[in-house]
């Protein structure tokens, strides 16, 4: 069916650019995000992230007033930086510009330059994040790139000290806390040094406080980020990102390659057996270390589970949505187990999703897939009605759609604001795939039980 093109966005399937940047800054040790613009933006983003992480999420704002909007935000920004530095004594202030300051054209790089890009030892990093040209994902990658760029100026090549131990930079993209912890575990098992950026897994999921923490513990240490230029290699998750990165546009790894010739491997988010196999083979290529026994066992158990569950998922039809890289990875995994991702939709608008999916998904299945960029939930729901899906998989924002379609929603990704533990969902690796597979099969079984006249207890 052709749905009418709508001028307005109705129930957006995306968030705005500074949110992604703020998340990244929360994944860097001792860093406070500061949005340059009006107060509402930062308050809304805080509120939004709090309901996913269930943790304090402080985001400062330069709090524009009418005069600021007219005469420019330079003075406000300076005052804001001073106040943040006074109250939080951070190691870094990550400054993201909202639509407002972008539109009035504040020259933030120049303002920061004049301050020497620091205040009382606190580094000032800026990322340009106008929301009228991008989504939260662009803000996320933009912030990673900005931080890496600023911490690794061409002039500051870290002395190469030959070491027995390899060191990898890993740019995982927007994953869950549990995903980040899993990645760290894999690298520990492989005995490879890892610089993971960002890493909000501790800071946005810490224990209750004994002592007050103005900035919660955790995050990628800034001194590590400064060492990235001398690592063995960089890995970067995201098929879409890689396509941009090919043009050297958005990626931190591309920047390190260009400036310091750090080898760089781009791969999809490792969800599913095939994608995780690729992850381990890339690791092997970069570090000459092969997959530890533990993961071989996880892989074996996962495939065994695929076998046990094959009949319950084969030919089932799913609606997948979210940020583009996540959709690509998820659709690849679903296709791998015989589920047809009949509709793959994202609010992102790179124009690259379709091509990426056609390369990821076998042609016989891809023929049955509709791909939509720049999608919102209202159009998605209309489209979905025509496709008789069995379930919906994506973040909490699809709840309304699933409810209207009367089919179950499997919650993955960000934001999960109507459940506990969104940040503890493991998506990646064999173990994450195991978790997803079990959840999907059990969700489908539950539907069968619920709709069965008799109800059954054994399978």
């Amino acid at each position: 069916m052709k749905t009418k093109a709508y001028t307005a966005t109705r129930n957006a399937c995306k968030m705005c650019t500074p949110l992604g940047a703020a998340l990244v800054f929360h994944g860097i040790e001792g860093t406070i995000p500061l949005l340059h613009g009006s107060q509402g933006c930062s308050t809304y983003m805080r509120r939004y992230m709090i309901s996913h992480f269930k943790e304090p999420v402080d985001i400062a704002s330069s709090n524009f007033s009418e005069e600021t909007a007219i005469f420019g935000g330079g003075a406000n920004l300076k005052q804001a930086i001073e106040n943040v530095s006074r109250q939080y004594a951070p190691e870094m202030i990550g400054i993201a510009t909202t639509c407002l300051s972008e539109t009035i054209g504040d020259d933030v790089p120049m303002i920061l330059e004049k301050m020497g890009n620091q205040i009382n030892q606190t580094a000032l990093v800026h990322v340009s994040t106008p929301s009228f040209s991008g989504t939260h994902v662009d803000g996320f990658h933009g912030a990673v790139r900005a931080v890496v760029g600023q911490c690794n100026p061409l002039s500051n090549r870290t002395k190469y000290t030959p070491k027995t131990k390899k060191r990898i930079n890993l740019f995982p993209g927007m994953l869950s806390n549990e995903d980040l912890r899993h990645l760290k575990e894999i690298f520990t098992d492989l005995n490879i040094d890892l610089i993971l950026l960002p890493d909000y897994s501790e800071r946005l999921e810490g224990p209750s406080w004994v002592e007050y923490q103005a900035i919660q513990k955790g995050g990628t240490p800034i001194r590590d980020i400064r060492k990235m230029n001398a690592s063995t290699g960089s890995m970067e998750f995201g098929t879409i990102l890689a396509r941009f990165a090919g043009k050297g546009e958005k990626s931190a790894a591309a920047l390190l390659k260009k400036r310091f010739d750090v080898p760089w491997e781009s791969l999809g988010i490792p969800i599913g057996v095939k994608a995780t196999d690729i992850f381990f083979s890339v690791m092997e290529r970069l570090t000459l270390k092969s997959m530890p026994e533990k993961y071989k066992k996880q892989r074996g158990r996962l495939i065994d589970a695929y076998v046990d569950g094959n009949k319950y998922v084969s030919k089932k039809r799913a609606i997948v949505y979210g940020e583009e890289d996540f959709v690509a990875a998820m659709a690849g995994f679903l296709a791998e187990i015989g589920i047809i991702p009949v509709l793959c939709a994202s609010g992102g608008n790179s124009g690259l999703l379709k091509q990426a999916l056609s390369e990821l998904i076998p042609q016989n299945i891809f023929k049955q897939v509709e791909v939509h960029n720049g999608m919102d939930f209202t159009r998605m729901e209309q489209q979905a009605r025509e496709l008789s899906p069995d379930f919906v998989i994506g973040n909490s924002k699809g709840y309304t759609m699933a409810r209207h379609l009367n089919i179950p929603l499997v919650r993955v990704g960000f934001p999960i604001h109507d459940r506990l533990g969104g940040s503890r969902i493991l998506h990646i690796g064999y173990q994450g795939t195991q978790h997803l597979f079990d959840t999907i099969v059990n969700t489908l079984l539950q539907t069968r039980q619920d709709t069965s006249k008799i109800g059954y207890a054994y399978m």
């Binding site: 995306k14 705005c16 009006s38 402080d58 709090n63 909007a69 005052q79 007050y212």
Partner: protein, 460 residues
């Protein structure tokens, strides 16, 4: 413990009763760089108008403002649910450069055609104020073509404080009422309920009280709102204003233009709910039956909840509470309600209080109580720790502060799902804080209840 410093420029916004002699400073814009708990002008307007369920709410701006406010309020509707949609013009770079008027106009035509709303509100966000779209003209043009009111809400986020946001919403409501084509024939025992948003169904509770008193509710602004009801609002004899911060402006305008007097009330807590109902009954003293019915109603309702409350009170006696809410009026009622439950208030603050509000708060509080204007997470945490509170009452943004510090929490904002208004609401409130304060999990939280945990593990 590392002490938390208070910014020099904010010192006058923090007051400790019995210690400080100055007048608390308030009604200012937030300090740059402080992580204020406040939102923006758009937020305030959206909150007020949100519950009008058969109106189209179109947010004119880039996507974020709409995305973050999609269905976040707990305002229920007994019929249409158009308010739960998030519509945005989702401005792109070219719109920013060439202006968004065309896109807005097009969006309005399409949406009105598809959803057939009874009215449309167009919220102007920051960017719209900057690029200078003539939203009024677009609204007029569309309204003329489609035959429903299409009202601009000038809620550019940076243009002022929450007070200005309420004014923008009130202006839109007043225009809506004023555009009514109905003959303004009075309804003898008719009232409007103002500043009630049907969070968790609260409007229904309140309306039911009035019905039982023999009073007719003409319009609620804006809980479970309908355009047609609001357009009949001039037919009421009295405006009963809760949440006075938000809708007093409208009440004043209606008094001036339509001669409808108003009174201020609160439906939170036994004391305030009862006096709200009695005040309305006294206004209609010409019909003595109303007062009789009111007395009976209050008696019945209070008797129904007392046994529960008495039991709960035993556990809550002497416990210390911190309050941080949007409007100061809510704080007054909360202090009374907590006092009734035997609790002590050690911190109270608001995002938008004015001079009189703070003067009254000072009077109501015990010596030692901290009073805060436009606070931030650091300050809130500081005083909660210093005062050793057991409970924090606030909104979603305050919740993690309470939980990280290992104390109970009660959501008293627009996002909650449980009604806290009226007598039944008081029971819900008491139950909720009882549940959280008496939870056994606090015994496991580091810092607070370490007694039962081996020393070696309890380092946090």
């Amino acid at each position: 413990m590392k002490t938390i410093s208070v910014l020099e420029d904010r010192k006058k916004q923090i007051y400790q009763k019995g210690q400080d002699g100055f007048d608390i400073s308030c009604e200012q814009k937030s300090l740059a760089g402080s992580v204020s708990q406040r939102a923006c002008v758009f937020c305030g307007s959206r909150v007020v108008l949100y519950p009008i369920a058969d109106a189209l709410h179109l947010i004119h701006g880039p996507i974020g403002c709409a995305s973050y406010t999609w269905d976040i309020r707990g305002a229920l509707s007994s019929g249409p649910e158009l308010h739960r949609m998030s519509f945005s013009t989702d401005l792109s770079e070219t719109d920013i450069i060439f202006g968004g008027e065309k896109k807005l106009e097009q969006a309005l035509f399409e949406l009105i055609d598809a959803y057939e709303p009874r009215a449309a509100f167009v919220y102007c966000t920051c960017i719209v104020g900057i690029i200078g779209d003539d939203v009024d003209a677009v609204c007029r043009k569309v309204a003329a073509r489609v035959g429903i009111p299409v009202l601009p809400v000038h809620s550019e986020g940076f243009k002022g404080t929450k007070k200005d946001s309420y004014k923008a919403a009130c202006d839109a409501l007043f225009t809506l009422i004023d555009q009514s084509k109905e003959p303004p024939k009075k309804i003898p025992l008719g009232i409007n309920i103002l500043g009630e948003f049907n969070i968790g169904g609260e409007t229904w509770i309140i309306k039911d009280y009035y019905r039982r008193m023999g009073i007719e509710t003409v319009a609620v602004m804006t809980g479970d709102g309908r355009v047609k009801d609001i357009q009949s609002a001039q037919r009421a004899c009295l405006n009963v204003v809760q949440c006075s911060g938000s809708l007093t402006h409208l009440a004043k305008e209606m008094e001036e233009v339509y001669g409808i007097p108003y009174i201020r009330v609160s439906y939170f807590g036994i004391e305030d709910t009862a006096s709200a109902l009695y005040d309305v009954a006294s206004f209609f003293a010409g019909s003595p039956a109303i007062m009789e019915k009111t007395t009976r109603l209050v008696q019945e309702e209070v008797c129904a909840i007392i046994p529960d409350l008495e039991e709960i009170k035993q556990d809550l006696a002497g416990k210390r509470a911190a309050i941080y809410v949007g409007g100061a009026f809510k704080a007054f009622s909360l202090i009374k309600a907590l006092k009734y439950l035997g609790m002590e208030v050690v911190l109270v603050g608001s995002q938008t209080g004015n001079k009189e509000d703070y003067a009254l708060l000072k009077k109501m509080c015990r010596p030692g109580t901290i009073i805060l204007d436009d606070a931030n997470p650091l300050e809130l945490a500081k005083y909660i720790m210093e005062k050793d509170a057991h409970l924090f009452i606030g909104g979603v943004k305050e919740k993690p502060i309470a939980y990280k510090l290992g104390i109970g929490f009660c959501d008293h904002n627009h996002e909650r799902k449980i009604p806290l208004a009226g007598f039944a609401g008081m029971r819900n409130f008491a139950r909720e804080i009882h549940e959280t304060i008496t939870s056994p999990i606090w015994e496991l939280v580091p810092g607070k209840g370490q007694k039962n945990i081996p020393e070696s593990l309890n380092k946090g």
